[in-house]
Structures are given as structure tokens and as C-alpha cells.
Symmetry: C3
Subunit: 445 residues, 3 copies
């Protein structure tokens, strides 16, 4: 069943009131990294600024931190006469517009209107748009939906785990040409991992996942719906004979991917607007015998561009260029590859939307159809006033969330046992693993 442009476009808008925009507004989303935002008890980091201007889901917003240290997210344009609050001044408990001095607190209440009579109650009649924020693990998250639908903040172990080293990305990965569903297509695509991120670099890893070549069994692949979104699982050939690589990757709604050993990494690809995306990433490395592992230390000292350390100019894809430009240091990195893979699907004349009707989906594209089916279900749920997948509302469920993503070398039988587990069985198994670690030594969670 080929994709239809009209249906796809309807599904790709992210603004207020659009079908997908309403789904996206039922979740907490990162909007900035903590160290970019000054204020509070002082700027811990040089270069921090207060306020900041951010654009999220097509909305222009101003982010500031008052003297309490708490971040606040307001509509950028003053409710008085529309001047940008980005050029305003942050004071102890408010941000104040330059034009006539209207001041707003973190909840968008108007706390001063100096040009009005002192006894005027006019300011009580105005509510400036504001969104609640949560700051955790070096990221500032916000909830942009209706207040009465605000869910609990999800306690992913990458954000809340203890006894480990946490590496938070710098938020510098911005894709100027990317729509959010093509990012989810990419998450649920084991083939591009093999081909784009492997084979192309000379490593013949595509054969490790393929179709019975070299006497190896055809790689089993399964797709599942999960309590948080979707996953794929593969059991592919390993580097040594008789060894296999069990890989499980999760798409966590609305825009996250969770992968790597121990589900170490969570990445958010947050729509800036209909055609651009900003990435945030947190990796969590549990301590080994109470100390950071060598792998963890190596990760934080690696200067090459990654989700954690990207600093991208608007035209970096053009600068890095095409295949002939092999010498460029970013040319063969995973970010470059994903930027090309996803970021060139759009076409300028279609406002950076792809021309989906020209796609030819094959057996390896099951994830593309699967994610659309799941996403449309969420659109329907939200239309009916229900919560979409993965939203936590009951305080009894407010537990540490271990997405059971993993990557581990096993023999065939052990691998197939893992492969045959349902997402719920895997979740229980991983929860038990983390609990065991807690009991048996330095508490990783």
C-alpha cells in the first residue's frame, strides 16, 4: 500500500491544533540544555544566557530562569503589545518587557504594569501563555499541552538512574530539513544501521544480518508494539563463528529512540517546527565496582562529533558535502550519515516534506508502515480524549522506567531465547537485572 502525500502531510504537521501536534503536546519534551540557560544563583557556565529564545512545535517561546533557579517557558511576544520578551530583563521573580515594563512570573501571571494606576486590577485579567518546566539530568523539559491533561514526568533510568556516569549532549544537533516521522522511520530500521552506518565504511557488516549467506542462518527480525511505543529485535551474525549479536532498539513515544548496551542511550528528536528538528541526548553508564567504566570515560573524552557534542551550522551538510569529500572529519560519522539519510528525503519545493508517493517500500521497510499504524492510533486516542501510549498518570506507576533496549553478544540458543520474549517479558527481565545489580553491589539505579 503506497503512501499518499496528502495523508502523510496531515500527519507531519506539529503546530497547535494539528492531529500530530496534539499528540506531541501530551508528552514532556526537552526544550534546552541546562547549561545554556543562565540566571538563578549565577551563571555556572560561561556563555549561558538569560533569557533564551526557543522554538518548539512551531511555537516561538522565551525561556528564562528567575532568582529561584527554576526555569520558565513563556510565549515570546508580550501580551500587552506584542514586543519580544527575548529582549526583556529577567528580574528576581519575573521577566519584564522592554516596551512598557509589563512583568510576568513563571506561571505567566502579570505581576506588574507600571504604566497603569497603582490600584488597577487590569493585570489580573491577563494570563500570558506559559508552560510548566522540569529540569533534570542537565535538560530542561516542558509540557506544551492542555493543563488538565498534564501527565507525570516519566522517570527514565537514563535521567534518574543513580550510581552511574551520565553524559548529556549539548543540544547542538539541529536538522534544518527533517520531519519527525522520518526520524521514527529511521529508529525502527535495522537495515540502515547495517548498511548506512556499517557497510558503507568498508566494514562488511551487512552480511552479518543478511539472508543466509556464508552458511549462516537468515537473520530473524521481529517488530513489536511496546508499552512505550515500538521496538525491533534482531539476532545477527557476530564477528566470531557461532557468536551472534542480539540487538533490541526502541522507539519511545513521542520522539525518542533508546538503544545500545543496557539501553544506555536515550535521544529525543524534538520538532522545532514542521521542517526542522533539534536533538537532545542522555547516555547513562552504570558504575562498575563503584567507578565509571573505561567505556564511560572514553565516551566523555571523545572529541569527535556525536549527538552529545554536535555543533552544527545551518549549512553543514553542504559544507561536508558528498562522497568525493572523504577527507572531511565528519564525512564518515554516524551523525553525517543520518543527516543525509533522513535530512535529504525532503524537497525544498514541498516545504521540506518528502514526495512520499514516489517511495517504493519493500520488505525491509516494515518499520515505516508499523510506525504509521501506531502513530495513527495515538491520534485517534487523543481525539477521543484518552492518553496516548506511554503516558503515566497514576502515581502508583511512577517508577523508574527501564526501556529494555540492549546490544549483547550471545550464542544462537541464548539469543533465540531472548528473541522470543515479548516486550513485557523483556521489561520484567531487565527490571530484575537492574534490581539484582542494586542488591549485589554498588547500586546502579
Amino acid at each position: 500500500m503506497p503512501l499518499r502525500n496528502e495523508e502523510e502531510e496531515e500527519l507531519h504537521h506539529v503546530g497547535p491544533g494539528t492531529p500530530s501536534g496534539e499528540v506531541l503536546r501530551r508528552y514532556w519534551l526537552p526544550v534546552e540544555i541546562s547549561e545554556n540557560l543562565g540566571g538563578g544563583r549565577g551563571n555556572a557556565f560561561s556563555g549561558a544566557r538569560n533569557p533564551l529564545r526557543v522554538r518548539v512545535l512551531g511555537e516561538d517561546l522565551v525561556l528564562f530562569r528567575d532568582a529561584s533557579g527554576e526555569p520558565a517557558l513563556l510565549a515570546e511576544h508580550c501580551s500587552h503589545r506584542g514586543t519580544s520578551l527575548y529582549y526583556g530583563r529577567v528580574e528576581d521573580d519575573c521577566i519584564r518587557c522592554l516596551y512598557h515594563g509589563w512583568a510576568y512570573d513563571r506561571e505567566g501571571r502579570v505581576v506588574d504594569t507600571p504604566a497603569e494606576p497603582p490600584d488597577s486590577n487590569f493585570k489580573l485579567t491577563v494570563k500570558h501563555p506559559s508552560y510548566p518546566c522540569v529540569e533534570v539530568a542537565g535538560l530542561i523539559f516542558a509540557y506544551l499541552g492542555a493543563p488538565e491533561r498534564q501527565p507525570l514526568f516519566p522517570r527514565y533510568h537514563q535521567l534518574f538512574g543513580e550510581n552511574g556516569l551520565r553524559v548529556t549532549g549539548n543540544g547542538g544537533r539541529i536538522q534544518r530539513s527533517n520531519v519527525f516521522l522520518q526520524t521514527l522511520d529511521n529508529v525502527l530500521d535495522p537495515w540502515h544501521s547495517e548498511i548506512s552506518h556499517g557497510w558503507y565504511k568498508g566494514t562488511p557488516v551487512v552480511t552479518t544480518m543478511h539472508h543466509g549467506r556464508n552458511g549462516e542462518p537468515t537473520t530473524p527480525i521481529r517488530y513489536d508494539r511496546t508499552p512505550w511505543g515500538a521496538r525491533y529485535v534482531v539476532l545477527q551474525s557476530g564477528e566470531r563463528p557461532g557468536k551472534y549479536s542480539y540487538r533490541e532498539t526502541h522507539a519511545v513515544f513521542p520522539v525518542q529512540r533508546c538503544n545500545l548496551t543496557d539501553g544506555r542511550s536515550m535521544k529525543w528528536s524534538v520538532p522545532i517546527d514542521d521542517h526542522s528538528t533539534r536533538w537532545f541526548a542522555v547516555d547513562f553508564y552504570p558504575f562498575v565496582e563503584g567507578k565509571p567504566s573505561r567505556e564511560a570515560l572514553s565516551a566523555i573524552n571523545d572529541p569527535s562529533p556525536s549527538d552529545a557534542r554536535a555543533v552544527m551550522s545551518d549549512d553543514w551538510v553542504e559544507q561536508v558535502g558528498a562522497w568525493w569529500n572523504l577527507g572531511h572529519p565528519w564525512r564518515q560519522g554516524q551523525i553525517w550519515e543520518d543527516e543525509i539519510d533522513m535530512g535529504t528525503q525532503g524537497r525544498p519545493e514541498r516545504n521540506n516534506f518528502p514526495d512520499w508517493e514516489k517511495w517504493h517500500l519493500a520488505t525491509s521497510d516494515r518499520g515505516v508502515m508499523f510506525i504509521r499504524q501506531l502513530w495513527r492510533e495515538q491520534v485517534e486516542r487523543v481525539r477521543r480524549g484518552e492518553d496516548p501510549l506511554g503516558v503515566i498518570r497514576d502515581p502508583a506507576n511512577d517508577l523508574l522506567v527501564h526501556i529494555p533496549a540492549d546490544r549483547v553478544t550471545v550464542d544462537w540458543e541464548a539469543g533465540m531465547r531472548l528473541f522470543n520474549l515479548s516486550p513485557e517479558e523483556r521489561a520484567a527481565m531487565v527490571a530484575e537485572q537492574w534490581a539484582t545489580r542494586s542488591r549485589s553491589g554498588p547500586v546502579p539505579v
Copy 2:
């Protein structure tokens, strides 16, 4: 009564045939400063060029000066086959198109068509769009309206006054995001003067104008219609006890502001098109005892950016940036403040128009409603074929115009006497003052 976007937008277009465009085309408007335009008996100023390309009220025009020294303003595109006359050559009495050599004189007459037979009368059938110009006080003004409605050129004393020092701005203040009515909103807004241009810099001047604090009387404010547009008058607390500051600021139609001591300054904010504005300014300092005052000399030697000396890049607001950028030399200047106040009200997705429906107008915004009422009256007048406010057509009225703007320190009683005068009484009073100066010493006018 909240503003409505649809009505506001209709009022904010400036092109030919639009309601406000037709009002704007009933007045003389500055289109360039004299020293930017070469030609005539030689280029007096290095950097002068001939012709120049200017965009005024949404029209692309070419400005040149022939050997007579007179400026001329024509449509940019040749009436033959549309090639830009900006790349043409200025000759003794014409500008000649590069493509086929058609030549136009200052009145838009076709004076040569070298590719046509010598006896051809074809050129007599073509009239190229041209607009009359007046050059005065270092500015080139043009009238872009219907010839049969052309009024007299208004003899503002800032332009025509004698026995004084005249400082003409360099025309370098260009706002890329500004619609003309939000400039008029800004003129008739005493509060932003106190808050944006005062209080924000640390000077607690807001209390000088407020609501009975510190035992001072509540500042009286009045708005009036005038023979030239509108004005506000305030009598605010002064720096010393018992002293008050009488301030009278005028909006002079269509796009001028007149303020400061002795109505010293006149500024034109001329719409380039629907979303950008170019400023021109002339200040006139009467001689004191036949010589320039210290204030006048200080003004012409002040190197800081002002309306007179602005040179703005397209992205200067971004460069100067927000509140955290206190160290920038332009950060606390009045131009920066007005650029933020007015220039960020628009939204890119609305073609730089504000989202007026999200404004919340309060008691301090009387000027916003007042200017709209007055402007709509002018739209109606022009629709009925009448002249709008301030247009002078009768030669008997072709006198020096003293707009009675002022800023003066007085005691309460003297201030209230000034305050209670009508615009007409103030006009008579100021005319008498200028006449007295003429009689009693060095003639200032």
C-alpha cells in the same frame, strides 16, 4: 474594544490603491538624503552615486540628478522592455536605458528612441511614471500621488528656519521589521518614553510620571487632535522638588514625529514597503546670540548612533542581541530600544505584521486607539476626494510651520497653564515666541 487583525492589516498596506497607501500618497515624503546622490555640477561628496535605486511605499524607483542639478524620480523599469534604469546612464537632461537607449527626462518624457526611425512619433505616445521632487535641508522629497492632488510643500521650520544650525540625519536607520502605524503608536506613547528609554537604564524616572507616589500629584496627560495630526501633553515630576517637566510631542501626518525643546526635531519614518521603514531626521538649533549653541555643537560632534548617524546592517538587532549583552555600545541607546519596542511586534509568519488580536490594551494605550481613529478619518477623507489633515493647498497659508512641540522645566502653575492650552492656542503662542526672537535679536527663523 480589541483590535482585529483583518481590519489592522487592511490599514497597514502602503502600496498604490490601498486605503492607507492612498493617504500616504497625498503628502510629500523624503526619499533620499542629498549627499548620497551625485550628478549635477559634480559630486560634492565622495560616495555619492547617480542614479540611485530607492524603494518607497512598495514602489521600485530610480532617483537621478541631471546636469541641471535637479533630482528626478522615475519608475525603475524601462517603459520599453522593462530593463532596470538603475543600470542606465545619466546624461545632461535624461537617463538612458542600457538595452536600447531609450532616454527619459525628469518628467518621464521619452526624449530619444535611437532604434526607431528619426521621424517616428512613437516616443510621444509613451509616458514613463515619474514623481515631482523637492530638495531642501539636505533631503530629497517626492510626491507619489495623483498630479491633480499635489499639495504645496509644507514649510516646517526645521527645514526652512533661518539663523540656526541644521543637523540632517544620514538616512541610515532602516528597520526591516516595522509597519508604519506601530511607529505612530510609538510617537503618541508617553509611557514608553519613561519606561523603555528611562527606567530600564536604571534612572527611576518612571516615578516622575506616575500615580501620585512620593506625595506628588498624579501626572496629568492629555491627547488632542491638531491641525497636523495629534499630540500628547504631560506635566511630569522634575528632578528637583517643586519643578515639573512640561512635555508636548506631536505626531505630524502622515509619518512624522516632532518633539524635544523648541520642537527642535522632526523625524520621518517612511514606509519602504509593507514591512520595512526608513528614517529621515532634521534637527534645527536656533543660534544663540548669533552663534550655534553649545548643545548644537555637541549634537553634531556626538559619534554615538542616533537618528542622525545610524548605519544599520540588516541583522543589527540580532547582533546587538538581548539583555545579557549589556556591554554592546548600542545596547542602551534610544534607537536600540525603539527598534526592539516596535521592531519585534511583528511576526515572521505574518509577514512581519503583529498579531494584534493578542494585544491587551490598557489605560496607558490611549494613543493606540486615538491614532487609529484619526487615521481612519483620513482614509475616509481621501476616499471622498478631500485632502487629509495638514495638507496645505492655499498659497495664502504657505507660511513657516511651527509645530508647538516642546520640553521645558516649569513650576506647577505655569505648567498647568501650558497644559490647559488647546493646540491652536499653543500654535499661536509658539508662533509669537519665534516672531519675538526675530524682533529682539538674532533672527532665529
Copy 3:
């Protein structure tokens, strides 16, 4: 009969399915110069790249050269999921997409889909858009039309002639504001040659072509339809008394101009899209006594910008600027003049289309009406399924094509004999001249 904007615009679109787009797609068009494209047996030229991205007639395409050395032209976006093949890798017999490794050969066949099962026939169901290429005289030509209408490649002597020196331009002349019919207007315009390229520089050559001044006869001009498009012929006054200059210039369909002595030069102005144009040029200088002529050697050593050596930035017209900028080295060159003549007819607010309804066509604009009449005929022919002018389909006609353009000094009688020849008579005469050269000495063809 004035031009109408609506009709003109319809005629100026170049995309697939538009009236003129379909005409343009019946001819071979140059799309790149050979030395810009690497690949094959190695990159002969530093700076050559493989693949290249090109935009032709509004289509985004990728051009590559596989190990055979043959160029190939494919749609830029992968038929699988739309990723740009510009970032793919050229292999021995294909270009391979970075995302999932789909590989396409020169004919657009899918030759590998590594993520599909080895026995899958899925790839046989997909045909990627591709266009046939011919590489000749340092240019890569492509045919973008329906395969069943593909004509023979025309054997212009500038491309295929032997015993001569061939100078191929660098393809660097790109006009950002130019629609293709205003280029054809320009070809068939003897007057602008006199005025824009002559008189403006101070040479009073306009009188050599005019209306009986100086006792000279009025210059005769004729326009003709030809087997390849259209031509004009003039017999204008020469530099010496009694000597005349016979000039014959051809518009060769769809977008070529052929002019200069011996029809030496052929230039293609290929629409990039509706509002920009890229030029390609080949000049052919027959050997004189078996050696390059002094004129030929001088041409290839001339460093000044020309069609052959243009390297243009997007804003070069702005940089070179207007008439006052006499000192600029490009200011008085023919490219600059044509760029102004043609490139400023468009208006930004009209997507760079001219406002044709404001044109005033005179007797000297016969070419403008003539080219429209001819072009509309081709639109009709193509609508009826016939070949447009100049298309060669019969192998019996696959001969060297000598467009009889020329520029030669003659006396009046000889000139008028030439002038009175029909295009067919001129073609026969020129064919005989080239054959004679072949027989009488070093074979020029």
C-alpha cells in the same frame, strides 16, 4: 498588440507538463561541462567531482560517471525512500544510495537492494527516472523527454567539425534572474547589439545601422523563419566608406544562438528552472593552413570574462553595480551588458517574470513578436504529437549542420546579394563553402 502577462507566463514555464516545458523536452540540451565531472578512468581535472547535482528545466538531477567513463543522469532522490543520491557513492557500474544501499545503473535500473532477500525480484519492479546522455566537445548533453520521441543528436559543426580549434566555455555563466524567452528576444535583436554593446561604450556604431543618416542608405533588416528556428540579417554601414557589414544571426531552437564570422559560436542558454539560466558555449575556429589562426589563439588566451570563462557569483550584478562604477573590469563587457539587458527585466514580486503588460513594443522589436509566433507554433506541433523545428529523426539527414550565421565586410552590391538569399539558399551556399575548404586544403570539417 501588447503582450499579456497571463499568456506570457504560461509560455515561460519550463517544468514537466507545461506547454514550453514539453517543447524544450524534445531537444538535446547541455547539462554540464565534461571537466567538472570526475569518475571513469580517473579525474583528469583537479576539482572534478563525481557525482554532481544539476538542476535542469526545474528538475533536480544527479549526474555521475561510472567506470565505463560514460555519464549518466538520474533523478536526484532515491526511488526507495527519497534520500538524495548526490550523497551516494559511485561504483563501477552504478550509483549507490547511502541509506539502504539501493544501486542504480546508468539506465536507472535497480541493480542491487541489499536489504531485500537475495532471491527477491522486487528490484525489477522499480524503474528510476533516468535520461540518456551524449558527451561531445567537452559538454555533456541530455535528453529529458519521452523516450519514444528521442531524436538524433544534432551534428552542429561547432561540436563535430574537424581541423579546427574548439573552445568550450566553462559553464560558469549562470543568470539568477532570466526567463528563457527573454533570451530569445535578445538573440533576435540587432538593435541592442548596436546600442547596448556598442554605442554605450562610446563607439558611435549606432549610426552604422540607422536611418539614412550621413547620406548612407537606411539599413535593411530582414527576419526569416529557418529550418532551425529564426534569423535576422542586416547590411549595416562599415567603418570605411563604401564598405558594409553583412551580419546574420540565428536563433537555433530551442535555446541556442549562433553568430560571429563563419557561424563560429554556438551558445546554449539552458533554463535551470522558471527563473534562472545556465549558459554553455562552444566556439569553433577552422585551422588556417593547418594551424590555429591568430584569432583563435588570442581567444583562448584572453583572460577577460566571456561566455567561455565566466565565473559568476550569485550577486555579481549587484557587485559590479551601476553606471557610476566605470572602473570595474566587468563593467563594460558584453556579458555584463546582456546580464543587465535581460536579467533586470524580471521583477522579484513576480517571481522574476517581467511585467510584460508595461512594455511598449516599437518597430525595432519585431524579433519579440516573431519569436513568440514561432514558439507558439512549436507548442502546437508538440501538442499534436509532431516534432518541433530543427529536430532530426531521419538517419539520412544525420549530416553535419552548418548554421549559416556570419559577419563579413562587403560592398553594397555583394552585401545585398547575400541579403536577398533565403535561409535555404544561404544554407546551401555555406555548405558548399565548407566543402570547398575541405577539398582545397586542410579539411576544416
